[in-house]
Symmetry: C2
Subunit: 316 residues, 2 copies
Protein backbone atom coordinates (compact mmCIF):
# COMPACT_ATOMS: atom_id res chain seq x y z
CA UNK A 1 0.00 0.00 0.00
CA UNK A 2 1.19 3.54 -0.72
CA UNK A 3 1.89 5.94 2.11
CA UNK A 4 -0.13 9.11 1.95
CA UNK A 5 0.47 12.38 3.75
CA UNK A 6 -2.40 14.85 3.66
CA UNK A 7 -1.85 18.55 4.37
CA UNK A 8 -4.96 20.09 5.79
CA UNK A 9 -6.52 23.16 7.32
CA UNK A 10 -10.01 23.17 8.78
CA UNK A 11 -13.39 22.15 7.40
CA UNK A 12 -12.63 21.38 3.73
CA UNK A 13 -9.46 19.60 4.71
CA UNK A 14 -11.24 17.60 7.38
CA UNK A 15 -13.81 16.34 4.89
CA UNK A 16 -11.20 14.97 2.50
CA UNK A 17 -9.13 13.61 5.37
CA UNK A 18 -12.17 11.69 6.60
CA UNK A 19 -12.66 10.32 3.08
CA UNK A 20 -9.01 9.30 2.91
CA UNK A 21 -9.23 7.63 6.32
CA UNK A 22 -12.12 5.53 5.00
CA UNK A 23 -10.10 4.50 1.95
CA UNK A 24 -6.68 3.81 3.43
CA UNK A 25 -5.33 1.52 6.14
CA UNK A 26 -4.58 3.51 9.30
CA UNK A 27 -0.83 2.97 9.02
CA UNK A 28 -0.72 4.45 5.52
CA UNK A 29 -2.25 7.84 6.26
CA UNK A 30 -0.71 10.75 8.13
CA UNK A 31 -2.32 14.16 8.37
CA UNK A 32 -0.19 17.27 8.85
CA UNK A 33 -2.33 20.13 10.04
CA UNK A 34 -1.94 23.89 9.91
CA UNK A 35 -1.31 25.50 13.30
CA UNK A 36 -0.95 29.07 12.02
CA UNK A 37 -4.41 29.87 13.30
CA UNK A 38 -3.66 28.59 16.80
CA UNK A 39 -4.08 31.13 19.55
CA UNK A 40 -4.43 31.60 23.25
CA UNK A 41 -7.89 32.52 24.42
CA UNK A 42 -8.91 32.81 28.06
CA UNK A 43 -5.50 31.32 28.84
CA UNK A 44 -6.26 28.22 26.79
CA UNK A 45 -4.18 27.04 23.86
CA UNK A 46 -6.62 26.53 21.04
CA UNK A 47 -5.71 24.79 17.78
CA UNK A 48 -8.82 25.27 15.62
CA UNK A 49 -7.63 23.31 12.58
CA UNK A 50 -6.20 20.42 14.60
CA UNK A 51 -9.43 20.32 16.60
CA UNK A 52 -11.61 20.27 13.48
CA UNK A 53 -9.57 17.42 12.01
CA UNK A 54 -9.59 15.44 15.27
CA UNK A 55 -13.27 15.97 16.03
CA UNK A 56 -14.13 15.03 12.44
CA UNK A 57 -12.09 11.83 12.62
CA UNK A 58 -13.59 11.05 16.04
CA UNK A 59 -17.12 11.49 14.69
CA UNK A 60 -17.64 14.31 17.18
CA UNK A 61 -17.60 17.35 14.91
CA UNK A 62 -20.45 19.76 14.51
CA UNK A 63 -21.04 19.54 10.79
CA UNK A 64 -23.60 22.31 10.79
CA UNK A 65 -21.33 25.00 12.19
CA UNK A 66 -18.07 23.56 10.84
CA UNK A 67 -16.36 24.03 14.21
CA UNK A 68 -16.67 22.65 17.72
CA UNK A 69 -18.45 19.52 18.85
CA UNK A 70 -21.86 18.26 17.99
CA UNK A 71 -24.44 18.16 20.79
CA UNK A 72 -22.45 20.62 22.84
CA UNK A 73 -23.93 22.92 25.49
CA UNK A 74 -23.15 26.60 26.17
CA UNK A 75 -23.47 27.10 29.89
CA UNK A 76 -19.91 28.25 30.44
CA UNK A 77 -20.15 30.66 27.50
CA UNK A 78 -23.44 32.09 28.78
CA UNK A 79 -21.84 32.64 32.19
CA UNK A 80 -18.80 34.27 30.56
CA UNK A 81 -21.15 36.65 28.77
CA UNK A 82 -22.78 37.54 32.09
CA UNK A 83 -19.30 38.30 33.45
CA UNK A 84 -18.60 40.52 30.39
CA UNK A 85 -15.68 38.24 29.61
CA UNK A 86 -14.43 37.32 26.14
CA UNK A 87 -17.16 35.56 24.27
CA UNK A 88 -16.52 36.23 20.58
CA UNK A 89 -14.81 32.88 20.24
CA UNK A 90 -17.53 30.47 21.22
CA UNK A 91 -16.38 27.41 23.09
CA UNK A 92 -18.93 24.77 24.04
CA UNK A 93 -18.80 23.09 27.44
CA UNK A 94 -17.61 19.75 26.04
CA UNK A 95 -15.17 21.43 23.67
CA UNK A 96 -13.66 23.34 26.60
CA UNK A 97 -12.34 20.09 28.05
CA UNK A 98 -10.05 19.55 25.06
CA UNK A 99 -8.53 23.02 25.36
CA UNK A 100 -8.11 22.72 29.13
CA UNK A 101 -6.40 19.36 28.81
CA UNK A 102 -4.16 20.49 25.92
CA UNK A 103 -3.13 23.57 27.90
CA UNK A 104 -2.45 21.43 30.96
CA UNK A 105 -0.30 18.94 29.06
CA UNK A 106 1.65 21.71 27.30
CA UNK A 107 2.27 23.34 30.68
CA UNK A 108 3.77 20.02 31.85
CA UNK A 109 6.40 20.49 29.14
CA UNK A 110 5.05 18.17 26.47
CA UNK A 111 5.31 19.43 22.90
CA UNK A 112 2.27 19.96 20.70
CA UNK A 113 2.95 16.77 18.74
CA UNK A 114 2.95 14.63 21.89
CA UNK A 115 -0.10 16.41 23.26
CA UNK A 116 -1.99 15.97 19.98
CA UNK A 117 -1.13 12.28 19.96
CA UNK A 118 -2.39 11.88 23.53
CA UNK A 119 -5.62 13.74 22.77
CA UNK A 120 -6.16 11.66 19.62
CA UNK A 121 -5.78 8.45 21.63
CA UNK A 122 -8.31 9.65 24.20
CA UNK A 123 -10.72 10.68 21.44
CA UNK A 124 -10.20 7.28 19.84
CA UNK A 125 -8.82 8.79 16.64
CA UNK A 126 -6.79 6.09 14.91
CA UNK A 127 -5.43 8.22 12.07
CA UNK A 128 -2.08 9.85 12.80
CA UNK A 129 -2.53 13.61 13.13
CA UNK A 130 0.50 15.88 13.48
CA UNK A 131 0.62 19.62 13.94
CA UNK A 132 2.81 21.17 11.21
CA UNK A 133 5.36 22.25 13.81
CA UNK A 134 5.83 22.40 17.57
CA UNK A 135 6.87 26.04 17.41
CA UNK A 136 4.38 28.87 17.58
CA UNK A 137 3.41 30.33 14.23
CA UNK A 138 0.76 33.05 14.09
CA UNK A 139 -1.00 33.93 10.88
CA UNK A 140 -1.54 37.68 10.88
CA UNK A 141 -3.97 39.36 8.54
CA UNK A 142 -3.05 42.90 7.57
CA UNK A 143 -6.15 45.05 7.17
CA UNK A 144 -6.75 48.74 6.61
CA UNK A 145 -9.62 48.84 9.04
CA UNK A 146 -8.09 47.18 12.11
CA UNK A 147 -4.38 46.99 11.31
CA UNK A 148 -2.77 43.62 11.97
CA UNK A 149 -5.30 41.02 13.11
CA UNK A 150 -4.40 37.59 14.50
CA UNK A 151 -6.14 35.05 12.32
CA UNK A 152 -8.99 34.11 14.67
CA UNK A 153 -9.86 37.74 15.26
CA UNK A 154 -10.07 38.26 11.52
CA UNK A 155 -11.87 35.01 10.89
CA UNK A 156 -14.22 34.66 13.83
CA UNK A 157 -14.47 38.00 15.63
CA UNK A 158 -14.75 40.01 12.40
CA UNK A 159 -16.23 37.15 10.34
CA UNK A 160 -13.54 37.81 7.66
CA UNK A 161 -15.30 41.05 6.74
CA UNK A 162 -12.23 43.34 6.82
CA UNK A 163 -10.42 43.64 3.52
CA UNK A 164 -7.20 41.60 3.54
CA UNK A 165 -4.31 43.70 2.33
CA UNK A 166 -1.66 41.12 3.03
CA UNK A 167 -0.83 38.33 5.46
CA UNK A 168 2.20 37.03 7.25
CA UNK A 169 3.16 34.06 9.37
CA UNK A 170 4.82 35.34 12.51
CA UNK A 171 7.38 32.92 13.88
CA UNK A 172 7.59 30.92 10.66
CA UNK A 173 11.36 31.40 10.41
CA UNK A 174 11.90 29.63 13.71
CA UNK A 175 9.39 26.88 12.99
CA UNK A 176 10.90 23.45 12.38
CA UNK A 177 9.46 20.33 10.90
CA UNK A 178 9.22 17.84 13.74
CA UNK A 179 10.93 14.47 13.71
CA UNK A 180 7.49 13.00 13.17
CA UNK A 181 6.50 15.20 10.21
CA UNK A 182 9.95 14.74 8.61
CA UNK A 183 9.68 10.99 8.88
CA UNK A 184 6.12 10.97 7.53
CA UNK A 185 7.08 13.19 4.60
CA UNK A 186 10.18 11.13 3.83
CA UNK A 187 8.17 7.92 3.84
CA UNK A 188 5.32 9.41 1.83
CA UNK A 189 4.68 8.06 -1.66
CA UNK A 190 1.91 10.57 -2.18
CA UNK A 191 1.20 13.97 -0.67
CA UNK A 192 -2.32 15.33 -0.95
CA UNK A 193 -2.91 19.04 -0.43
CA UNK A 194 -6.49 19.15 0.78
CA UNK A 195 -9.07 21.67 -0.45
CA UNK A 196 -8.28 24.22 2.26
CA UNK A 197 -7.59 27.93 1.93
CA UNK A 198 -4.30 28.03 -0.02
CA UNK A 199 -2.86 31.13 1.65
CA UNK A 200 -4.12 30.84 5.17
CA UNK A 201 -4.35 27.09 5.76
CA UNK A 202 -1.84 25.44 3.41
CA UNK A 203 0.84 28.08 2.93
CA UNK A 204 1.82 28.09 6.63
CA UNK A 205 2.54 24.35 6.36
CA UNK A 206 4.52 24.79 3.13
CA UNK A 207 6.58 27.56 4.69
CA UNK A 208 7.84 25.42 7.56
CA UNK A 209 11.53 24.82 6.93
CA UNK A 210 12.16 22.95 3.65
CA UNK A 211 8.67 21.49 3.38
CA UNK A 212 8.13 22.85 -0.14
CA UNK A 213 11.40 21.35 -1.33
CA UNK A 214 10.48 17.95 0.09
CA UNK A 215 7.04 18.07 -1.55
CA UNK A 216 8.44 19.08 -4.93
CA UNK A 217 10.33 15.76 -4.99
CA UNK A 218 7.22 13.74 -4.12
CA UNK A 219 4.10 12.84 -6.01
CA UNK A 220 2.26 15.82 -4.62
CA UNK A 221 -1.21 16.61 -5.84
CA UNK A 222 -3.64 19.30 -4.73
CA UNK A 223 -7.40 19.40 -4.61
CA UNK A 224 -9.00 22.69 -5.60
CA UNK A 225 -11.04 24.46 -2.89
CA UNK A 226 -12.66 26.59 -5.60
CA UNK A 227 -15.78 25.50 -7.45
CA UNK A 228 -16.64 27.72 -10.39
CA UNK A 229 -15.30 30.96 -8.98
CA UNK A 230 -16.41 30.68 -5.40
CA UNK A 231 -15.16 28.84 -2.35
CA UNK A 232 -17.37 26.19 -0.76
CA UNK A 233 -16.69 27.67 2.66
CA UNK A 234 -14.60 30.47 4.12
CA UNK A 235 -12.88 33.54 2.75
CA UNK A 236 -10.77 32.04 -0.09
CA UNK A 237 -12.76 33.57 -2.98
CA UNK A 238 -13.14 36.89 -1.20
CA UNK A 239 -9.39 37.07 -0.60
CA UNK A 240 -8.70 36.35 -4.29
CA UNK A 241 -10.75 39.39 -5.23
CA UNK A 242 -9.02 41.49 -2.56
CA UNK A 243 -5.67 40.48 -4.00
CA UNK A 244 -6.94 41.62 -7.41
CA UNK A 245 -7.34 38.13 -8.83
CA UNK A 246 -10.54 36.57 -10.18
CA UNK A 247 -10.89 33.35 -8.19
CA UNK A 248 -10.55 30.15 -10.17
CA UNK A 249 -9.19 26.66 -9.77
CA UNK A 250 -6.12 27.43 -11.84
CA UNK A 251 -5.28 30.45 -9.69
CA UNK A 252 -5.01 28.07 -6.74
CA UNK A 253 -2.93 25.68 -8.84
CA UNK A 254 -0.65 28.60 -9.71
CA UNK A 255 0.13 28.99 -6.00
CA UNK A 256 1.21 25.32 -5.83
CA UNK A 257 2.81 25.32 -9.28
CA UNK A 258 6.34 24.49 -8.21
CA UNK A 259 5.38 21.58 -6.00
CA UNK A 260 2.44 19.70 -7.49
CA UNK A 261 2.41 17.09 -10.21
CA UNK A 262 -1.35 16.64 -10.33
CA UNK A 263 -4.36 18.82 -9.65
CA UNK A 264 -7.93 17.81 -8.94
CA UNK A 265 -10.52 20.36 -9.97
CA UNK A 266 -14.27 20.52 -10.12
CA UNK A 267 -16.31 19.75 -13.21
CA UNK A 268 -17.42 23.40 -13.11
CA UNK A 269 -13.79 24.38 -13.77
CA UNK A 270 -13.23 21.87 -16.55
CA UNK A 271 -12.31 24.60 -19.05
CA UNK A 272 -9.27 25.51 -16.93
CA UNK A 273 -7.53 22.20 -17.66
CA UNK A 274 -5.52 23.55 -20.56
CA UNK A 275 -3.94 26.28 -18.47
CA UNK A 276 -3.04 23.76 -15.79
CA UNK A 277 -1.63 21.31 -18.31
CA UNK A 278 0.42 24.10 -19.87
CA UNK A 279 2.30 24.33 -16.54
CA UNK A 280 3.18 20.64 -16.72
CA UNK A 281 0.58 19.76 -14.08
CA UNK A 282 -1.77 16.87 -14.81
CA UNK A 283 -5.39 17.90 -14.23
CA UNK A 284 -8.13 15.58 -13.07
CA UNK A 285 -11.73 16.71 -13.26
CA UNK A 286 -14.38 15.39 -10.92
CA UNK A 287 -17.18 16.50 -8.64
CA UNK A 288 -15.29 18.02 -5.66
CA UNK A 289 -18.26 18.96 -3.48
CA UNK A 290 -18.32 16.75 -0.37
CA UNK A 291 -21.81 17.14 0.99
CA UNK A 292 -22.15 13.72 2.60
CA UNK A 293 -20.16 10.69 3.76
CA UNK A 294 -20.33 8.90 0.43
CA UNK A 295 -19.15 11.93 -1.58
CA UNK A 296 -16.20 12.31 0.81
CA UNK A 297 -15.25 8.69 0.34
CA UNK A 298 -15.76 8.85 -3.41
CA UNK A 299 -13.67 12.00 -3.88
CA UNK A 300 -10.92 10.60 -1.63
CA UNK A 301 -10.88 7.37 -3.63
CA UNK A 302 -10.69 9.35 -6.90
CA UNK A 303 -7.89 11.53 -5.53
CA UNK A 304 -5.95 8.51 -4.33
CA UNK A 305 -6.32 6.61 -7.60
CA UNK A 306 -5.31 9.69 -9.57
CA UNK A 307 -2.21 10.15 -7.41
CA UNK A 308 -1.25 6.48 -7.68
CA UNK A 309 -1.55 6.70 -11.44
CA UNK A 310 0.80 9.71 -11.57
CA UNK A 311 3.18 7.97 -9.18
CA UNK A 312 3.25 4.80 -11.23
CA UNK A 313 3.66 6.63 -14.50
CA UNK A 314 6.55 8.63 -13.10
CA UNK A 315 8.38 5.52 -11.87
CA UNK A 316 8.02 3.47 -15.06
Amino acid sequence: MKNVVALAGGVGGAKLVLGLAHNLPTENLTVIVNTGDDFTHLGLRICPDVDTICYTLAGLSNQTSGWGRKDDTWNCLKSLIKLDSLSWFQIGDKDLALHLERTRLLALGQDLTQVTQTLCEKLDVKTIVYPMTNEKVSTIIETDEYGDLPFQEYFVKHQFRPKLRNYKFEGIKNAKLTNETKKALNQADIVVICPSNPWLSIMPILEVENCKEILSKKTTIAVSPIVGNSAIKGPAAKIFFELGIVPSAFEVARIYKEIIKGYVLDTKNQNECDTISSWGIIPFVTDTIMSNESSKKRLAADVFRFAVKILEESTT
Copy 2:
Protein backbone atom coordinates in the same frame (compact mmCIF):
# COMPACT_ATOMS: atom_id res chain seq x y z
CA MET B 1 -24.18 52.62 62.10
CA LYS B 2 -21.20 50.55 63.21
CA ASN B 3 -18.69 49.29 60.67
CA VAL B 4 -18.31 45.53 60.70
CA VAL B 5 -15.52 43.46 59.21
CA ALA B 6 -16.21 39.73 58.97
CA LEU B 7 -13.38 37.23 58.60
CA ALA B 8 -14.58 34.17 56.76
CA GLY B 9 -13.61 30.88 55.18
CA GLY B 10 -16.06 28.78 53.16
CA VAL B 11 -19.51 27.42 53.93
CA GLY B 12 -20.00 28.28 57.62
CA GLY B 13 -18.49 31.70 57.07
CA ALA B 14 -20.68 32.31 54.03
CA LYS B 15 -23.85 31.57 55.99
CA LEU B 16 -23.09 34.11 58.70
CA VAL B 17 -21.87 36.63 56.12
CA LEU B 18 -25.19 36.32 54.30
CA GLY B 19 -26.99 36.87 57.60
CA LEU B 20 -24.86 39.95 58.33
CA ALA B 21 -25.50 41.29 54.81
CA HIS B 22 -29.22 41.06 55.52
CA ASN B 23 -28.82 42.94 58.81
CA LEU B 24 -26.39 45.70 57.86
CA PRO B 25 -26.31 48.49 55.28
CA THR B 26 -23.98 47.58 52.40
CA GLU B 27 -21.48 50.30 53.25
CA ASN B 28 -21.05 49.03 56.81
CA LEU B 29 -20.00 45.46 56.03
CA THR B 30 -16.72 44.25 54.62
CA VAL B 31 -15.80 40.59 54.31
CA ILE B 32 -12.15 39.51 54.36
CA VAL B 33 -11.84 36.01 53.02
CA ASN B 34 -9.23 33.29 53.41
CA THR B 35 -7.19 32.61 50.28
CA GLY B 36 -4.91 29.97 51.80
CA ASP B 37 -6.86 27.26 50.02
CA ASP B 38 -6.50 28.94 46.61
CA PHE B 39 -4.81 26.83 44.00
CA THR B 40 -4.19 26.45 40.31
CA HIS B 41 -6.10 23.66 38.66
CA LEU B 42 -6.09 23.02 34.92
CA GLY B 43 -4.28 26.33 34.61
CA LEU B 44 -7.11 28.17 36.34
CA ARG B 45 -6.72 30.22 39.50
CA ILE B 46 -9.37 28.95 41.85
CA CYS B 47 -10.29 30.70 45.11
CA PRO B 48 -12.72 28.28 46.76
CA ASP B 49 -13.52 30.38 49.83
CA VAL B 50 -13.89 33.63 47.90
CA ASP B 51 -16.11 31.82 45.41
CA THR B 52 -18.31 30.34 48.12
CA ILE B 53 -18.75 33.75 49.72
CA CYS B 54 -19.46 35.47 46.40
CA TYR B 55 -21.84 32.81 45.09
CA THR B 56 -23.66 32.81 48.43
CA LEU B 57 -24.06 36.60 48.41
CA ALA B 58 -25.13 36.46 44.74
CA GLY B 59 -27.78 33.84 45.53
CA LEU B 60 -26.02 31.45 43.14
CA SER B 61 -24.48 28.97 45.58
CA ASN B 62 -25.25 25.31 45.65
CA GLN B 63 -26.43 24.90 49.21
CA THR B 64 -26.67 21.14 48.96
CA SER B 65 -23.03 20.53 48.10
CA GLY B 66 -21.65 23.59 49.87
CA TRP B 67 -19.50 24.47 46.85
CA GLY B 68 -20.02 25.56 43.27
CA ARG B 69 -23.14 26.96 41.68
CA LYS B 70 -26.69 25.79 41.92
CA ASP B 71 -28.28 24.42 38.73
CA ASP B 72 -24.89 23.85 37.17
CA THR B 73 -24.17 21.29 34.45
CA TRP B 74 -21.20 18.94 34.11
CA ASN B 75 -20.52 18.55 30.42
CA CYS B 76 -16.98 19.89 30.53
CA LEU B 77 -16.15 17.68 33.52
CA LYS B 78 -17.57 14.61 31.82
CA SER B 79 -15.46 15.37 28.74
CA LEU B 80 -12.38 15.88 30.93
CA ILE B 81 -13.00 12.45 32.45
CA LYS B 82 -13.15 10.93 28.97
CA LEU B 83 -9.79 12.57 28.23
CA ASP B 84 -8.37 11.10 31.48
CA SER B 85 -7.67 14.65 32.60
CA LEU B 86 -7.84 15.94 36.17
CA SER B 87 -11.33 15.52 37.48
CA TRP B 88 -11.03 15.18 41.25
CA PHE B 89 -11.85 18.86 41.66
CA GLN B 90 -15.27 19.11 40.14
CA ILE B 91 -15.99 22.32 38.29
CA GLY B 92 -19.42 22.85 36.80
CA ASP B 93 -19.83 24.45 33.38
CA LYS B 94 -21.20 27.72 34.74
CA ASP B 95 -18.68 27.77 37.58
CA LEU B 96 -15.84 27.39 35.06
CA ALA B 97 -16.62 30.83 33.64
CA LEU B 98 -15.69 32.50 36.93
CA HIS B 99 -12.31 30.75 37.08
CA LEU B 100 -11.57 31.46 33.41
CA GLU B 101 -12.39 35.13 33.82
CA ARG B 102 -10.44 35.46 37.09
CA THR B 103 -7.41 33.81 35.49
CA ARG B 104 -7.71 36.07 32.46
CA LEU B 105 -7.91 39.26 34.53
CA LEU B 106 -4.99 38.20 36.75
CA ALA B 107 -2.96 37.49 33.61
CA LEU B 108 -3.67 41.07 32.51
CA GLY B 109 -1.80 42.18 35.63
CA GLN B 110 -4.71 43.02 37.92
CA ASP B 111 -4.31 42.00 41.55
CA LEU B 112 -6.67 39.58 43.25
CA THR B 113 -8.45 42.40 45.10
CA GLN B 114 -9.27 44.25 41.87
CA VAL B 115 -10.28 41.05 40.14
CA THR B 116 -12.53 40.03 43.03
CA GLN B 117 -14.17 43.45 42.97
CA THR B 118 -14.81 43.18 39.23
CA LEU B 119 -16.25 39.69 39.56
CA CYS B 120 -18.47 40.79 42.46
CA GLU B 121 -19.83 43.65 40.35
CA LYS B 122 -20.60 41.29 37.48
CA LEU B 123 -22.26 38.83 39.87
CA ASP B 124 -24.25 41.74 41.32
CA VAL B 125 -22.78 41.22 44.79
CA LYS B 126 -23.16 44.51 46.65
CA THR B 127 -21.26 43.52 49.81
CA ILE B 128 -17.56 44.37 49.71
CA VAL B 129 -15.53 41.15 49.55
CA TYR B 130 -11.73 41.28 49.84
CA PRO B 131 -9.24 38.45 49.62
CA MET B 132 -7.06 38.44 52.76
CA THR B 133 -4.01 39.32 50.66
CA ASN B 134 -2.93 39.71 47.04
CA GLU B 135 0.09 37.50 47.59
CA LYS B 136 -0.04 33.76 47.18
CA VAL B 137 -0.42 31.82 50.41
CA SER B 138 -0.80 28.04 50.28
CA THR B 139 -2.11 26.07 53.19
CA ILE B 140 -0.20 22.81 53.33
CA ILE B 141 -1.42 19.86 55.34
CA GLU B 142 1.33 17.61 56.65
CA THR B 143 0.22 13.98 56.67
CA ASP B 144 1.96 10.67 57.34
CA GLU B 145 0.21 8.95 54.47
CA TYR B 146 0.86 11.38 51.62
CA GLY B 147 3.45 13.79 53.00
CA ASP B 148 2.70 17.45 52.40
CA LEU B 149 -0.66 17.98 50.72
CA PRO B 150 -1.88 21.30 49.29
CA PHE B 151 -5.15 22.09 51.01
CA GLN B 152 -7.53 21.19 48.19
CA GLU B 153 -5.85 17.83 47.66
CA TYR B 154 -6.30 17.10 51.35
CA PHE B 155 -9.80 18.49 51.49
CA VAL B 156 -11.34 17.47 48.17
CA LYS B 157 -9.17 14.80 46.56
CA HIS B 158 -8.65 12.88 49.82
CA GLN B 159 -11.91 14.08 51.45
CA PHE B 160 -9.86 15.08 54.57
CA ARG B 161 -9.36 11.39 55.39
CA PRO B 162 -5.55 11.51 55.92
CA LYS B 163 -4.53 12.22 59.49
CA LEU B 164 -3.33 15.80 59.88
CA ARG B 165 0.00 15.88 61.68
CA ASN B 166 0.55 19.59 61.25
CA TYR B 167 -0.16 22.42 58.84
CA LYS B 168 1.66 25.44 57.48
CA PHE B 169 0.91 28.47 55.38
CA GLU B 170 3.49 28.68 52.63
CA GLY B 171 4.20 32.23 51.55
CA ILE B 172 2.57 33.75 54.63
CA LYS B 173 5.73 35.70 55.54
CA ASN B 174 5.59 37.59 52.26
CA ALA B 175 1.85 38.16 52.41
CA LYS B 176 0.79 41.74 53.06
CA LEU B 177 -2.52 43.21 54.10
CA THR B 178 -3.78 45.16 51.11
CA ASN B 179 -4.55 48.87 51.24
CA GLU B 180 -8.20 47.85 51.11
CA THR B 181 -8.08 45.36 54.00
CA LYS B 182 -5.97 47.74 56.10
CA LYS B 183 -8.47 50.54 55.57
CA ALA B 184 -11.43 48.27 56.33
CA LEU B 185 -9.80 46.97 59.51
CA ASN B 186 -8.81 50.44 60.65
CA GLN B 187 -12.36 51.72 60.12
CA ALA B 188 -13.97 48.67 61.72
CA ASP B 189 -15.85 49.12 64.97
CA ILE B 190 -16.52 45.43 65.18
CA VAL B 191 -14.70 42.41 63.79
CA VAL B 192 -16.60 39.15 63.56
CA ILE B 193 -14.67 35.92 63.17
CA CYS B 194 -17.16 33.68 61.39
CA PRO B 195 -17.78 30.02 62.35
CA SER B 196 -15.13 28.68 59.94
CA ASN B 197 -12.37 26.18 60.59
CA PRO B 198 -10.10 28.03 63.07
CA TRP B 199 -6.80 26.59 61.84
CA LEU B 200 -7.38 26.23 58.15
CA SER B 201 -9.77 29.07 57.31
CA ILE B 202 -9.26 31.77 59.93
CA MET B 203 -5.64 31.34 61.01
CA PRO B 204 -4.27 32.16 57.53
CA ILE B 205 -6.08 35.53 57.68
CA LEU B 206 -4.83 36.21 61.21
CA GLU B 207 -1.26 35.41 60.18
CA VAL B 208 -1.15 38.03 57.43
CA GLU B 209 1.22 40.76 58.63
CA ASN B 210 0.00 42.41 61.84
CA CYS B 211 -3.63 41.39 61.45
CA LYS B 212 -3.78 39.78 64.92
CA GLU B 213 -2.39 42.90 66.55
CA ILE B 214 -4.98 45.08 64.79
CA LEU B 215 -7.81 42.76 65.85
CA SER B 216 -6.68 42.65 69.47
CA LYS B 217 -7.28 46.39 69.63
CA LYS B 218 -10.78 46.12 68.17
CA THR B 219 -14.06 44.79 69.46
CA THR B 220 -13.40 41.40 67.97
CA ILE B 221 -15.79 38.57 68.64
CA ALA B 222 -15.78 35.00 67.29
CA VAL B 223 -18.59 32.61 66.57
CA SER B 224 -17.94 28.96 67.47
CA PRO B 225 -17.96 26.48 64.58
CA ILE B 226 -18.33 23.65 67.11
CA VAL B 227 -21.69 22.46 68.36
CA GLY B 228 -21.46 20.03 71.25
CA ASN B 229 -18.21 18.40 70.27
CA SER B 230 -18.63 18.15 66.55
CA ALA B 231 -18.31 20.53 63.65
CA ILE B 232 -21.37 21.31 61.54
CA LYS B 233 -19.38 20.76 58.39
CA GLY B 234 -15.80 19.96 57.44
CA PRO B 235 -12.81 18.56 59.28
CA ALA B 236 -12.59 20.88 62.31
CA ALA B 237 -13.64 18.29 64.92
CA LYS B 238 -11.57 15.55 63.27
CA ILE B 239 -8.49 17.77 63.34
CA PHE B 240 -9.02 18.54 67.04
CA PHE B 241 -8.87 14.84 67.79
CA GLU B 242 -5.80 14.41 65.58
CA LEU B 243 -4.09 17.21 67.49
CA GLY B 244 -4.92 15.34 70.71
CA ILE B 245 -7.64 17.74 71.85
CA VAL B 246 -11.27 16.89 72.55
CA PRO B 247 -13.21 19.32 70.34
CA SER B 248 -15.26 21.92 72.15
CA ALA B 249 -16.32 25.51 71.78
CA PHE B 250 -13.83 26.69 74.38
CA GLU B 251 -10.95 24.97 72.59
CA VAL B 252 -11.74 27.17 69.58
CA ALA B 253 -11.97 30.21 71.84
CA ARG B 254 -8.55 29.28 73.23
CA ILE B 255 -7.09 29.69 69.75
CA TYR B 256 -8.49 33.22 69.54
CA LYS B 257 -7.84 34.01 73.20
CA GLU B 258 -5.46 36.92 72.67
CA ILE B 259 -7.64 38.74 70.18
CA ILE B 260 -11.32 38.30 71.03
CA LYS B 261 -13.41 40.16 73.58
CA GLY B 262 -16.59 38.18 73.03
CA TYR B 263 -17.44 34.64 72.01
CA VAL B 264 -20.69 33.26 70.65
CA LEU B 265 -21.27 29.59 71.40
CA ASP B 266 -24.07 27.15 70.93
CA THR B 267 -26.62 26.28 73.60
CA LYS B 268 -25.19 22.76 73.51
CA ASN B 269 -21.91 24.21 74.83
CA GLN B 270 -23.49 26.36 77.54
CA ASN B 271 -21.51 24.65 80.31
CA GLU B 272 -18.26 25.96 78.75
CA CYS B 273 -19.09 29.57 79.55
CA ASP B 274 -17.20 29.59 82.85
CA THR B 275 -13.95 28.55 81.19
CA ILE B 276 -14.38 31.25 78.56
CA SER B 277 -15.25 33.88 81.13
CA SER B 278 -12.18 32.87 83.16
CA TRP B 279 -10.04 34.07 80.21
CA GLY B 280 -11.70 37.48 80.30
CA ILE B 281 -13.80 36.71 77.24
CA ILE B 282 -17.51 37.48 77.39
CA PRO B 283 -19.57 34.45 76.31
CA PHE B 284 -22.91 34.65 74.56
CA VAL B 285 -25.00 31.52 74.22
CA THR B 286 -27.47 31.04 71.41
CA ASP B 287 -28.55 28.57 68.75
CA THR B 288 -25.67 28.72 66.24
CA ILE B 289 -26.99 26.28 63.65
CA MET B 290 -27.90 28.15 60.46
CA SER B 291 -30.12 25.76 58.57
CA ASN B 292 -32.24 28.30 56.74
CA GLU B 293 -32.40 31.96 55.74
CA SER B 294 -34.17 33.07 58.89
CA SER B 295 -31.73 31.34 61.23
CA LYS B 296 -28.82 32.99 59.38
CA LYS B 297 -30.43 36.40 59.80
CA ARG B 298 -31.35 35.72 63.41
CA LEU B 299 -27.85 34.54 64.41
CA ALA B 300 -26.25 37.46 62.56
CA ALA B 301 -28.56 39.90 64.35
CA ASP B 302 -27.72 38.29 67.71
CA VAL B 303 -24.00 38.41 66.96
CA PHE B 304 -24.17 42.03 65.89
CA ARG B 305 -26.18 43.11 68.96
CA PHE B 306 -23.82 41.20 71.23
CA ALA B 307 -20.79 42.90 69.62
CA VAL B 308 -22.37 46.35 69.84
CA LYS B 309 -23.10 45.77 73.52
CA ILE B 310 -19.44 44.88 74.21
CA LEU B 311 -18.29 47.84 72.14
CA GLU B 312 -20.56 50.25 73.99
CA GLU B 313 -19.64 48.87 77.38
CA SER B 314 -15.94 49.19 76.59
CA THR B 315 -16.28 52.82 75.50
CA THR B 316 -18.34 53.99 78.46
